[in-house]
């Protein structure tokens, strides 16, 4: 069974500029254009004299890795795009972008792969030419492919040093039985070690997902919008092809509570994670409710934080965050426990806090504070073109439209205690919950014992 696209892309062929929308809760206007090949372009004028950030965003991530044994390939492919084209080798790309003084990098997540260059706005024409060439004409050989796979292994080794990675891997794997969210973005170690065998698969991934109608270009900063649009049209316009939809299986209802425990070979504070299955970004109300509910339940001003961290010293840090996903994902928290004995009282306190919300007992003063915090956070965390763009990259990738961010924040303003209560009753129930714990174990760890 495949998932229908949560929100359909608007693929209007007209390239005429849309009228500048009045700024919504998001502090800056977002101007949208579309090319005939389906590529969507978003401009955000921003007061950053002579500076700009340029993003090419693909709606592909570890969610797309449906084939057995190929977890981690979307991220691996991100690495491969730096290996160059016939016109510009990877070395050329690096040398040219660095000669322009640009800060460059890329990242992959469950639903998105994004490439960005940040620096002098005067570099935009060169950046646009290089990036369009890279994504349209990528050309890497199997030898380069194999070498790059070892860099990914190195990245995995770095991550594996932390029990947080073990916890994430354990939690996802148990919570999901069918959907690809069951593996981390970097992938299972066995799959990462086997990456050198997947050269042909990587070319397929390129053909299926790196297409203009599955991509967005986002430019934030100080630039002439018409000139930049013309450059984008000229360079990205000839890009052909249609993206394919990944055959991602729908996760069936969980049905009963699940739990797993993993060992760790060195002394650490135990890590506890619990997550409930909740709706994806297509459900605007549920997304707004989760944005509000996470800090209200688990954030620093929450009663739970005060009790567990500040008063009883059961928990060293209560963390996690809610991040919207394209498909139904998890609403969860992570607690770094002060001791093994802290597990039961921590879980019981969390249960009580959720039950309070479900019963409609919501601190209305705190609810108002959470809403204020979200609006102030938007101002504080959009202090550079890059940081402004990152918000839009994530919200754009899960729905195909960065303007989704404005709609969610607008909806947040209207969230009531009753909405939160209904949400908790519907989704935050034991049968929908998965819990994972990673703690020091004298016995070898369940996996990676030699670490």
């Amino acid at each position: 069974m495949t998932l229908a696209l949560a929100l359909s892309l608007s693929l209007a062929a007209a390239a005429a500029p849309a009228p500048a929308p009045a700024p919504g809760p998001f502090p800056y206007p977002i101007h949208r254009r579309t090319l005939e090949n389906g590529l969507q372009i978003f401009f955000v004028p921003y007061d950053s004299p002579r500076l700009a950030a340029f993003f090419t965003v693909f709606r592909v991530g570890s969610r797309n890795e449906v084939e057995p044994g190929r977890s981690g390939f979307a991220h691996f492919f991100e690495h491969l795009t730096f290996r160059g084209t016939k016109s510009h080798s990877g070395q050329d790309w690096e040398r040219i972008t660095k000669s322009l003084g640009l800060d460059t990098n890329a990242f992959t997540d469950d639903d998105v792969t994004a490439y960005w260059l940040s620096g002098a706005a005067a570099a935009l024409p060169t950046v646009i030419a290089l990036e369009a060439d890279r994504f349209m004409n990528l050309d890497y050989g199997e030898d380069d492919f194999k070498v790059e796979s070892r860099a990914v292994l190195g990245e995995l080794l770095k991550s594996q040093a932390s029990p947080d990675f073990e916890l994430e891997e354990a939690g996802r794997e148990l919570a999901f039985t069918r959907h690809t969210y069951r593996h981390t973005t970097i992938g299972y170690e066995r799959d990462v070690r086997d990456m050198p065998s997947g050269y042909r698969y990587s070319l397929e991934l390129y053909r299926r997902f790196y297409r203009p109608d599955n991509a967005m270009v986002l430019v934030v900063g100080d630039f002439d919008e018409e000139q930049v649009f013309e450059e984008i049209r000229r360079r990205y316009g000839p890009w052909k092809g249609r993206g394919e939809e990944a055959r991602v299986e729908v996760e069936p209802p969980q049905g009963k509570e699940k739990e797993t425990r993993r060992g760790w070979p060195t002394p650490i504070l135990p890590r506890l994670w619990s997550g409930w299955h909740t709706p994806g970004a297509a459900d605007l109300d549920a997304t707004a409710a989760q944005l509000v509910l996470w800090p209200l339940l688990f954030g620093r001003p929450s009663a739970l934080y005060r009790e567990l961290v500040l008063e009883k010293h059961l928990v060293e840090e209560l963390g996690g965050e809610f991040q919207p996903h394209r498909d139904p994902y998890l609403f969860g928290y992570q607690a770094i426990l002060k001791s093994a004995a802290a597990e039961e009282p921590t879980r019981a306190a969390t249960e009580r806090a959720v039950a309070e919300v479900a019963a409609g007992r919501v601190d209305e003063g705190l609810l108002a504070d959470v809403k204020s915090n979200l609006l102030a956070t938007l101002l504080l965390q959009t202090d550079t073109p890059y940081r402004t763009g990152i918000w839009l990259v994530y919200y754009g990738a899960v729905t195909g439209d960065p303007g989704y961010l404005d709609r969610v924040i607008q909806r947040v303003k209207a969230v009531s205690p009753q909405d939160l209560s209904a949400f908790a009753q519907r989704w935050l129930v034991p049968a929908n919950r998965t819990t994972a714990l990673v703690a020091t174990s004298a016995a070898p760890a369940a996996k990676g014992a030699a670490r």
């Binding site: 322009l100 990098n105 194999k146």
Partner: protein, 515 residues
């Protein structure tokens, strides 16, 4: 599901034998920058009324070097108690709740010589935020339960954090112990396990009065404020003790063996190397060295730089390889250097990200080989031109925000600079000649002085291989160009800089940062 990063913290005075050709440096770093002595706080304002936010930085010349012997970690813990532990008016929970609706940021960051209380809020929230900020400095609550909680957190950050959860940070902090043993920089900023355990509530209050004083304070503000905010803050903080300036620090003299191997149950191997050097911002040679070190390995900027290209891009050894001309802390959420970690005495360091254990000896040698070529042959003209162009553009992002601009201005004051460092660097970039850069490299870089910290499982075996000088041939799954294979032949036998068995020291991870 990510944990807030390890607070920057660790330390142990390694009683390492000083011997061997690469052991005692006898290299004397120049004197510390000229600190002012003043009874009133200095002020620094960078108003930008059109901005939506305001940044405040209260910058103290108070850092880990002020920790009393046996109380290592006291300055960082005192700062945490001030920033998080509540004020006379607000408990810890109330403080968090008061800041929350504003999304106001308030954090204390301690380094070897400095602590900055960095605050940021929206323009509208400023009048609500300032009284809280002033109370954090002037009227901390010193709640015994909060002091205990934060002390326990600091110990966990060492015992369960640094030793257990991040091999990369472990490697870097172990290198710092090796470079600065016996010097006031010689313990981890976050303290030692025993030092933290010995700290009492009274110690914290006494230390607050001793180091967070007017004589050590510079008040900085930037962004959308009206009037003279720095002067207003200086007035409101005038009730702090007058205090006295800190004594000048001695120059570090590294006495550690060439290799410090840390035995730890870990699947990968983390490597850091470096040495102290007698240059810093404001010195005539420093811009040239910044350019040269960038060419060797600009932090997280990819394959246009040597170490990354040779070790990762060509050989697939790991995820990344970088070099630094001064003590480096990465700013959250990006690759830029964090502001307000200035130090009188600086270091050149190289970070080799984790490698598979079977390649660890080759990776160490590959890094040494690249550093040696770089130091002896210098940069090429093409490389110099490219790196100069890179830095001319990249450094524009260094002071892009009000908060960072203010941070750089405060660091300029620390270094006693008349002309801002970034301005100097940008101005010098255009004029730097290849001969100047390569001459500066020859003057300041001696690869024999490198100390190398390695966190790995099987440290004893590695020590034996190092002492025997075993070759470390490299093999690959796919074909490689002849030039790479030829270089590998040299790397496999590249001298490790060892003369005697005691040039390699092995410690268990539990021994580090203990006392």
């Amino acid at each position: 599901m990510s944990r807030p990063g390890l607070a920057a913290l660790l330390a142990l005075p390694l009683a390492l034998a000083c011997a061997g050709p690469a052991a005692t440096d006898g290299r004397v770093t120049r004197t510390a920058p000229p600190f002012r002595a003043s009874g009133t706080p200095l002020q620094l304002g960078l108003p930008a009324p059109a901005r939506p936010t305001v940044s405040v930085r209260l910058f103290f010349l108070a850092g880990a070097v002020d920790d009393p012997p046996g109380k290592e970690g006291l300055t960082a813990l005192t700062a945490a108690v001030m920033a998080e532990g509540g004020t006379e008016r607000l408990s810890s929970a109330e403080l968090a709740r008061a800041l929350y609706p504003m999304a106001a940021e308030l954090e204390a960051v301690t380094d070897e010589e400095t602590t900055v209380f960095a605050g940021r809020c929206t323009k509208d929230a400023l009048e609500r935020f300032l009284p809280i900020l002033v109370d954090v400095l002037r009227r901390p609550r010193f709640d015994p339960r909060e002091m205990e909680r934060l002390r326990s957190r600091a110990i966990d950050a060492i015992v369960n954090g640094l030793r257990a959860e991040s091999d990369e940070e472990l490697g870097k902090e172990a290198l710092a112990l090796a470079l600065y043993g016996g010097h006031p920089y010689g313990h981890f900023v976050g303290g030692t396990v025993q030092g933290l355990k010995s700290i009492t509530a009274e110690d914290i209050q006494t230390h607050w009065k001793r180091v967070f004083t007017l004589a050590r304070l510079t008040v900085g503000a930037a962004g959308a404020y009206e009037g003279d905010l720095p002067a207003r803050l200086a007035r409101e903080l005038s009730g702090l003790p007058a205090g006295s300036p800190r004594a000048t620090l001695p120059a570090p003299v590294t006495a550690a063996p060439r290799f410090l191997l840390i035995e730890k149950a870990t699947p990968s191997t983390a490597i850091s190397m470096g040495f102290t050097w007698d240059v810093r911002r404001g010195d005539p040679d420093f811009p040239a060295l910044v350019v040269a070190v960038s060419a060797l390995g600009e932090h997280r900027q990819g394959a246009a730089f040597r170490l990354f290209d040779e070790l990762r891009e060509i050989r697939g050894l790991n995820y990344g390889d970088y070099a630094y001309p001064e003590h480096f802390v990465q700013a959250p959420g990006g690759a830029l250097p964090a502001v307000n970690h200035p130090r009188s005495y600086q270091e050149f360091t190289v970070w080799i990200r984790p490698v598979e254990p079977q390649h660890r000896l080759f990776a160490i040698r590959a890094a040494l080989y690249e550093i040696d070529r770089w130091a002896k042959r210098g940069l090429t003209q093409e490389e110099l031109d490219r790196v100069k162009q890179f830095l001319a553009g990249y450094t524009l992002s260094f002071d892009q925000t009000d908060s960072r601009k203010l941070g750089y201005a405060l660091d300029d004051r620390f270094y006693g600079l008349e002309r801002p460092w970034l301005e100097t660097l940008r101005a010098r970039l255009g004029a730097l000649k290849l001969e100047e850069v390569n001459a500066a490299l020859r003057r300041h870089v001696d690869p024999a002085r490198l100390r190398i910290a390695v966190a790995t499982h099987g440290a004893a075996e590695l020590a034996a291989e190092l002492r025997r000088g075993d070759p470390s041939p490299m093999t690959y799954a796919g074909p490689k160009p002849p030039a790479v294979l030829a270089a590998d032949e040299v790397i496999a036998r590249f001298p490790l800089g060892l003369a005697r068995p005691q040039d390699v020291k092995v410690v268990r991870v539990e021994e580090l940062f203990e006392r």
